[in-house]
C-alpha cells in the first residue's frame, strides 16, 4: 500500500534491540494527518505573511498586538469569526446558500491531493494529476454564481456573474499554457513532471529560453485571475460591490471562504512551482548541461545530486518557493490597480489565450516532439 510517509518511515525500526514494524494503516493515517496539518497550518501563516509584507510595502507595521509581533492575529481573527452568530438573509435560498460554501470549501481542500511536497510524499500519485486539479477547480465558478444568486442581494448577484465569467475566461489560457509541459513529460502526474525537471532543468528555461517563459507568465497571470487576487479582484471590488458574491456570508462561512481563498493561492503557487519552477528541486540546471543533440557537455558533481535527492531538502525547497510566490502575489497586490471587467475579459480571451498557444507550441517544438 502506498503511503504519503513511506519515504520517511521505512516501516521497520530497531529501538534498543526491539524490532518495531509500523503497520500500513498507521503509516497512512499518520501521513495524512501530517500532510493535512502542514497544509492547514500554512493557511494560518500565509495571511499573516501577506499582511506584514503589504504593511511594510505601504509604510505601515501590520498586525503587532496579538502574540509576538502579531503572529497570533490570524488565529485570533479565526476564533472570533467561528464564535460569531451564524446569520442568513431571510429571503436567501437556503440550499444554494449552503451548497455554494460546501462546493467551494470541499473543492479547495481536494485540490491538494496530487501535489508532492517531496519526491513521492503526496496524498495520491494520480495518473491524471494536473487535470485533476483543473477539474476540481472548475467546480468553483458555478458554485460562486449560485452563492451570489442564493444570497438574494444585488451586489452578490453581480459579483457572482463577474466571478463566473472571469474564472471561465482564465481557465482556458491556464490549461493551454500547461499543454507544452504535459506533451514533453508525457505524463499528467506532478511527481513525474517534477522528476523530469530535476533531470533536464526547469521548464521555465525550456523552449529556446522563450517558450517556457511565455507559458509560465500566462500560467501565473491566469492563476492570479483564478484566485481573484488584486489586479483581478473585480468580482469583489469593495468600492462597487461590497464583497461580491461573499457579501452576505458571515461568521464561520466567511472564515471558510477566506480560508479557501488562501488555499487557492497556495495551490496555484504550488502548481506553478511544479510545472515551471522545478518542483522540489532547488537547482535550475538539471543533472547536466546538454547540447542541442542531447549530448552531455558538462555533468554537475554527484554530491550536488545527492543533496537535491534528500527528501527534507526537497520539502524545505517546496515550502520556501511557495512562500516566495505568496510574496510575489502580495507585491502585485500592493503595486497594481484593479482592472475593469471588460479589460479583464478581453485581456484573457484575446491576449493570454494567444500567448498561451504560442508559448506551448514553442516549448513542444524546441524538444523535437513534433519531429
Amino acid at each position: 500500500m502506498a503511503s504519503p510517509v513511506n519515504p520517511f518511515l521505512s516501516g521497520t525500526f530497531n529501538i534498543l534491540g526491539i524490532q518495531i514494524t509500523i503497520p500500513d494503516v498507521v503509516a497512512i493515517a499518520l501521513g495524512t494527518f501530517l500532510l493535512a496539518n502542514y497544509i492547514m497550518i500554512n493557511q494560518l501563516i500565509m495571511p499573516y505573511v501577506e499582511r506584514k509584507v503589504m504593511a511594510r510595502q505601504q509604510g505601515r507595521r501590520g498586525p503587532v498586538y496579538v502574540g509576538w509581533r502579531g503572529i497570533l492575529q490570524i488565529p485570533a481573527d479565526l476564533l472570533k469569526l467561528v464564535l460569531k452568530e451564524d446569520t442568513m438573509p431571510k429571503t436567501a435560498d437556503s440550499l444554494g446558500f449552503f451548497m455554494a460554501i460546501f462546493f467551494i470549501g470541499v473543492s479547495s481542500i481536494m485540490a491538494f491531493v496530487p501535489l508532492p511536497f517531496a519526491n513521492g510524499v503526496l496524498g495520491a500519485d494520480l495518473t491524471i494529476g494536473v487535470l485533476y486539479v483543473f477539474a476540481i477547480f472548475s467546480i468553483v465558478p458555478p458554485a460562486m454564481f449560485i452563492g451570489g444568486w442564493a444570497s438574494n442581494s444585488k451586489y452578490a448577484l453581480i459579483g457572482g456573474f463577474r466571478a463566473a465569467g472571469q474564472l471561465l475566461a482564465y481557465e482556458i489560457p491556464m490549461f493551454i499554457s500547461v499543454l507544452g509541459v504535459i506533451a514533453i513529460v508525457n505524463s499528467f502526474s506532478l511527481n513525474d513532471i517534477a522528476l523530469y525537471q530535476m533531470h533536464a532543468g526547469w521548464f521555465l528555461f525550456s523552449g529556446f529560453g522563450i517558450g517556457g517563459l511565455i507559458a509560465a507568465f500566462v500560467f501565473y497571470i491566469a492563476g492570479l485571475a483564478e484566485t481573484e487576487r488584486v489586479p483581478f479582484d473585480i468580482p469583489e471590488a469593495e468600492a462597487e460591490l461590497v464583497m461580491g458574491p461573499r457579501t452576505e456570508f458571515s461568521g464561520w462561512r466567511y472564515a471558510l471562504i477566506m480560508m479557501t481563498e488562501y488555499v487557492h493561492l497556495t495551490v496555484n503557487s504550488l502548481l506553478f512551482i511544479f510545472l515551471f519552477f522545478g518542483g522540489f528541486d532547488f537547482w535550475p540546471f538539471g543533472n547536466a548541461i546538454y547540447n542541442f543533440n542531447g549530448g552531455v557537455i558538462f555533468t554537475w558533481p554527484t554530491w550536488l545530486y545527492e543533496l537535491r535527492s534528500n527528501l527534507w531538502i526537497q520539502f524545505i525547497t517546496v515550502t520556501v518557493k511557495a512562500y516566495f510566490f505568496i510574496y510575489v502575489a502580495t507585491t502585485f497586490r500592493t503595486a497594481f490597480p484593479r482592472m475593469r471587467i471588460d479589460q479583464l475579459l478581453s485581456f484573457g480571451w484575446k491576449q493570454l489565450l494567444l500567448a498561451s498557444i504560442f508559448g506551448s507550441f514553442i516549448m513542444i517544438w524546441s524538444t523535437g516532439v513534433l519531429g
Partner: protein
C-alpha cells in the same frame, strides 16, 4: 467478502437518481441547475467505476464546470416568470414517452453487446470498441442505416438553426415581464 465497489456504485446511483428528481421538482431554474450539477457529478463518478479517470476529469470540468456556468447564465439572463413555468406540460407527454422508449431501445442494444463473462463495457466480443460495433454492425445490418452519424449531424444542425431562429424572433420590445432577479423579491 463484501463487494465495496458495488455498494459504492449503488450509493452513487441512488444519489444520481435523487439529484435527477431534484432537477425536475425544483421550484426555481437556478435550483434546477444546481441539482443538475450534482447529477452530472454523480454521472461523472460512474466513469471512475469503469477505471477511466480521464473521462471522469473531462466530465467534471466540461459538464459540471463549463456547461453548468452556461446553463446558469442562460437561466439568469433570459426572461421567464415562475407563474407560467409549467413542469408538466400536457403537450410534451407523447414526445417524452417516445423519446424514453427510444432511449431504452438504444441502451438495450448497447447493453446486449457487453460480453457477460468479462463485464468490460468498452470492448465487445469481436474486439471492436463498443461504438464501432454499435454504429457499423447493428444499425447497418439490421436497419440498413449506414449513414447514421451524418444523419444525426444534419439533424442536430437543423435543430441548432431552428433554435437560433426561435431566439431571434423573440419580441424584444416587450419589457413588461421583467426577469425576476432574486428567489423572492421583497418590498420594504
Amino acid at each position: 467478502m463484501v463487494d465495496y465497489l458495488l455498494i459504492l456504485f449503488v450509493l452513487n446511483a441512488i444519489y444520481t437518481v435523487l439529484m435527477g428528481i431534484g432537477v425536475l421538482y425544483s421550484r426555481t431554474v437556478i435550483r434546477s441547475a444546481l441539482f443538475l450539477i450534482l447529477t452530472l457529478i454523480g454521472v461523472a463518478n460512474v466513469f471512475l467505476f469503469a477505471n477511466s479517470e480521464f473521462l471522469w476529469v473531462i466530465q467534471l470540468s466540461v459538464y459540471s464546470g463549463g456547461i453548468a456556468v452556461l446553463l446558469l447564465f442562460a437561466g439568469r439572463l433570459t426572461s421567464y416568470t415562475e407563474d407560467n413555468f409549467e413542469f408538466f406540460n400536457s403537450n410534451l407527454v407523447m414526445p417524452v414517452i417516445v423519446a424514453g422508449v427510444l432511449l431504452l431501445v438504444l441502451l438495450g442494444t448497447l447493453v446486449a453487446q457487453i460480453p457477460a463473462s468479462t463485464g468490460n463495457i468498452f470492448t465487445t466480443n469481436n474486439g471492436n470498441t463498443l461504438l464501432e460495433q454499435f454504429f457499423h454492425n447493428i444499425w447497418q445490418e439490421n436497419f440498413g442505416l449506414a449513414f447514421i452519424l451524418p444523419f444525426l449531424s444534419a439533424l442536430f444542425l437543423a435543430a441548432l438553426l431552428g433554435s437560433v431562429k426561435l431566439a431571434m424572433s423573440d419580441d424584444s420590445d416587450d419589457y413588461e415581464e421583467k426577469p425576476k432577479l432574486y428567489p423572492e423579491e421583497t418590498t420594504t
